[in-house]
Symmetry: C2
Subunit: 251 residues, 2 copies
């Protein structure tokens, strides 16, 4: 479902820009693209603070300083269409965060990507939880496809960061599994009111990558090569691998 | 939604038992509880071989050798109610598999639980995929709650097998994360037409548990104790931990 062709400018008084939070005075018309972006931004903010079933189209209209008919003019499919547009915007933002240029050791690079990810999770809080937990009223085959696209982008870019052109089944399984651990950990983090310091969680996830790669390297030469290459680049951070070896020492 | 109080025996000719696959001849009446179980078993079989949206109530009626009104008599909520009843039955069966008595080293015990899990996954194939992948038409807050119950049972029983009474946040995160890796791995396995030998996947998951526990032990004394205890019990299997140490050696 796409929005019907929209007029060049909407007819309903709109809040002053800049800033997407509406003010109750000084309404004015917005150009079409700007209004569309404003509605999506307002929706994202609402979906971030409450479960989707508790956000109504009226809430979005009110927060945007717009009328309900105006919102329908942009999103004829109603709340579901607005939700999906907002989700698509959030998904693009998140995929963009994976694509950044990185520097430093492999562990530092992974930590930087995770910092970006947790910032995104913190920002989208309730919306992120509702979507990934499943069973939400707004969840459809389309929303699942958007989430899967993000997971595929994460897989592709992680493999690229690892310098891998064609990943075999076990290396693919490793990266996919680690991504699901990241997702699960961020959901737990939100569930428990962000009780764990995010830097601790991030470092735990970096070490999980090394450990999970080691378990995969036991039976997959490609992963063994990738892991050896990463560890060789670690420099002083290789002490973390050394500490992993210590806790595995049963003698 | 529960089925309305059902009569002592249904009024529609039913297939011969034993065996839940109907035969076209020799219909007879079934006692109520038996009919209910038969409908659920037939539904489970259909949901295992096709995505839920491709299974209709008529399909269930036909496969059960029953009429559509009879199926509605037992499941007034229609396909959704029948789906949820089938899911509940499958969830109980799966949780029961976690609760078995185990013997052998910790690795052997984990491998045995995983063998049971993969047998379940293989048996429920399409239904398992559709449910865990999200976005299915039959997915609701109720079906998600059933899936979460199974995850909680898996967490509780894993901790019990580990001899842990009260798990701290990192040990809980470790076990939850490992469970999500198991789920993801079994979905990948189905996706790829079961190309990876299931014993290889199982052993990979056993090693993942050790490796992920090691990464957690670095910063959590409780997990460090649990891991040391497990490794001490491994006996000859501790060679797997020794091999993990080798691939982590960067000198």
């Amino acid at each position: 479902m796409e929005a019907r062709p929209a007029p060049a400018s909407d007819q309903v008084p709109a809040p002053d820009l800049p800033g997407l939070r509406p003010r109750r005075t000084g309404y004015r018309r917005l150009p079409v693209q700007q209004r569309r972006e404003q509605l999506i931004a307002v929706a994202l903010e609402l979906f971030a603070s409450r479960p989707p079933e508790e956000v109504s189209l009226d809430d979005v209209a009110e927060a945007a300083g717009a009328s309900r008919p105006l919102v329908y003019r942009y999103f004829a499919g109603g709340k579901q269409q607005l939700y999906e547009a907002a989700l698509r915007t959030a998904a693009e933002e998140l995929s963009g965060r994976f694509a950044v240029r990185l520097s430093g050791t492999p562990s530092e690079q992974l930590a930087a990507v995770l910092d970006g990810y947790f910032a995104f999770v913190a920002e989208h809080d309730a919306g992120y939880s509702a979507l990934l937990r499943g069973g939400s009223v707004v969840e459809t085959a389309r929303t699942s496809a958007i989430v899967d696209d993000v997971r595929r982008a994460a897989l592709r870019l992680t493999l690229r960061h690892l310098g891998v052109r064609e990943a075999g089944p076990l290396l693919t399984l490793l990266v996919r599994s680690w991504i699901s651990v990241v997702e699960g950990a961020s959901l737990s983090w939100l569930d428990e009111g962000r009780a764990l310091p995010v830097t601790e969680l991030r470092d735990w996830l970096v070490d999980q990558f090394t450990a999970m790669a080691a378990a995969t390297a036991l039976r997959d030469p490609q992963t063994a090569d990738v892991l050896a290459g990463l560890l060789a680049l670690e420099g002083p951070d290789a002490s973390r691998a050394a500490r992993l070896r210590e806790v595995l020492d049963v003698r």
